[in-house]
Amino acid sequence: MSLFESYLFTDDTPNLAEIINSTNGGVWEIDLYTRNVIWSVGFYKVLGYEPGEIECSYQYFVDHLIYYEDKGIFLESLNHTGLGSLRVYDVRLLTKIGYQWYQSAIQKYTDGKLVGTLINIHQFKISQLQLATDNIFVTDTNKLIKLGRWEIVVATNKLVTSKEALDIFELQQSIYSLNELYNLFLPQYKSLVADAVQICVTIGRPFDLDVQLKTGKNRIVWVKMKAVAEIDKYGKCFLVKGVVQDISLSKQYETELKSSLTYVNEQNKRLENFAHIVSHNLRSYVGNLQIMVNLHKESNNAEERLEVFSHIETISATLGTMIEHLNEIVQVDSEKNNNKTVIFFELLFRSIVNALQSNIQSADAIVQYDFSQCPAVKYLPAYLESIFHNLLSNAIKYRHPDRRPIIKCESRIENNDIHITFEDNGMGIDLEKYGSKIFGMYETFHRKSDSQGIGLYITRNQIEALGGTINVESIVNVGTKFIIKLASSRDLL
C-alpha cells in the first residue's frame, strides 16, 4: 500500500513515510516558481479527507482551505523563510467538520522549494484561548471582590505579591521581605499576623484573620488575611499560599449593625425598666392602698381610722406623682422629633442656676462653668434644660455634708462629638454596688427623704432618644462626674 504520493518520496524511504503518517500529521511541498504542490496522504487525513477527495493545488489551498484571516501569515511565511531556516506558524484550515487550528513548520531546503509539516493543534489552541479568557475572568473577579494573592517561599523567606495585593496595600512597588509586610499592619495586629505565618510555616496550620493595616497612602483599612501551607512529601511547609481581601466595607456595615444593635438593646432595657415600674412600683403602692382600705374598714377605733386614712392620702398622692413620671417618660420619646434649635450653653445654664438659686444659696454651693470650647449646640431646648436642671439639682442634693459644694459644668468637642461634663465634690456613688442601676428608674442610692430616683432615668432617656450617651465616674466621699456625649457635632452644630 502506498502511503505517499509516489512522486514525493522514493522507495528507499518507506519507513520514514510510515513514521510521519503515524504521527497524525501531514507533509507538503511547494515549488515557489511553478506553484506546484505535493501533499502526503497524512495531509489529507489530518484535514479529514481521503487522498484525491479535494483538489491538490496551491490555488485550491489558498482559495478554499485556509481561513481568509490567516492567509497573510501563510503567504508571509512562504515568501520570507530563508534557506535552511525553520518557521512555525498557526493557521485555521477548513476540515470536513469546519475550521480547525493547525500548526505548520516550514523549511526551505533548496532554492525555490519549501517543505512543511502540518499537525492538528485544535484542542491545544482552544484550551490556550480558554485559559487566557479564564485568566482575564479571574483577574476581573479578583479586582471586583478586592482580592489579592501573596506567597511566602519558605526556603528563602521571601514574599511574592500579586498586583492586586499591592493595589490593596496601595503600594507602588513590590515588597519582598516579611517584615515589610508585617509593618503594614497596625501595631495591635502586627504580631498576630506574624505569629500566624510562623505557625503556618512550622506546623502547617492555615489561618484566617480580620486585621487592620495602614496602606501606602496612609489609609486605615480592614483586610482579611487568609493562607494555607503547601507541604512537601515529608510534610514540611515549603510555601505559604495566601490571599488578602479588602473587607473595609463589610466591616463598616458590621460596625453599623453592632451600633444599631446596641441602640436596640438600650431601648429594650428602657422598656424593661418601664415595665418594671409598672409591675413592681405601681403594684406595691396599690397593694398598700388595699391593706389600708381593709384596715380602715375593719378598725373600730376612730383615732386609728384617722391615722390609717392619712396613710391612704399619702399613697394616693404618691400614686399621682408616679403617674406623672410615667407621663414624662412617654413624652421623652414622643417629643424627640420636635424641632431642634441652636442653644447657647451659657444662657441656658445661667437660667437654670437662677431657677435653683434658693437651693444653691442654702447649700452655699460654688457653681462654675466653662463653655468656651463649644459654646452652642443644636438640640431640643426642653431636653437640655431638663438635663441641666436634673444634674445641677442632683449635685446640690447629694452634696457632701462636710465641705462646701463645688459644681463644675463644661462643654467641649472631642472626636467630632459634643461632650458635656458635670462634676461635683459631693457624696459620690458606690459604682461597684450600684453601677448598673444608676440610670434605672426609681433607684436611689442615698437615704434621703426627697430622693425620687426618677431624675437620672429621665435624663438618660432625653440623651439617648437623640442618639447620645451618658456615663458616670464616681468615688464615694470624693465626688461624681457625669460625662454626656450628645451624638456627633455634625448634626448638632
Binding site: R283, N288, M292, V308
Partner: protein
C-alpha cells in the same frame, strides 16, 4: 400568748407596708412582737451578734428590693450566720416582683419557706402564721 408567734421580723424599706403589717398583726392578735428593719444589712448585723441569741424571730418576712442589702444578699449572708443561731427561723420572701426567675430561685432554696406576692391579703397572712405555728408544735413537746 398561747396560740400566737413570739416574734416576727419584717425586713422591708416600705414604711407604709410595715405600718399596715403591724396594724394587721395587732388587730388579728397574730403575734406579740413585731420588729422591723429597713434593709438586709441591719437584720444580718442583728442576727450575727451572739448577744441577741435570746431575741431571735420565729419568722422573717423578707422583701427582695431594698437599699443597702437586698433580699437575695441577705439570704446569702444568712447561710453563714444560721449555724450559730439557737433556733430555726422560717423565711418568707415577700415582694411585688412577679419575676419568674425569683420564684424559681425561692423554690430551689432550702432556707426560704415560701414566696408571697404583694399585695398580701389577710387570708394569706393568717395561713402563713398558722402554718409556721403548726410546724413548730412538735418541737415544743
Amino acid at each position: 400568748m398561747g396560740n400566737a408567734l413570739q416574734t416576727v421580723w419584717i425586713v422591708d424599706d416600705d414604711e407604709i407596708y410595715k405600718y399596715g403589717f403591724r396594724k394587721f398583726v395587732a388587730m388579728k392578735q397574730l403575734c406579740g412582737n413585731v420588729v422591723d428593719f429597713n434593709n438586709g444589712r441591719d437584720a444580718v448585723d442583728f442576727l450575727a451578734d451572739p448577744r441577741n441569741n435570746e431575741s431571735l424571730p420565729d419568722v422573717i418576712f423578707l422583701d427582695i428590693d431594698m437599699p443597702q442589702m437586698n433580699g437575695w444578699d441577705f439570704i446569702k449572708a444568712f447561710e453563714y450566720v444560721k449555724i450559730h443561731l439557737s433556733r430555726k427561723i422560717s423565711i418568707f420572701m415577700v415582694t411585688s416582683s412577679l419575676s419568674y426567675k425569683d420564684i424559681v430561685r425561692v423554690k430551689n432554696h432550702s432556707d426560704i419557706t415560701e414566696y408571697i406576692i404583694k399585695p398580701v391579703n389577710s387570708q394569706q397572712f393568717s395561713l402563713v402564721f398558722s402554718d409556721v405555728l403548726n410546724s413548730q408544735t412538735p418541737a415544743h413537746y
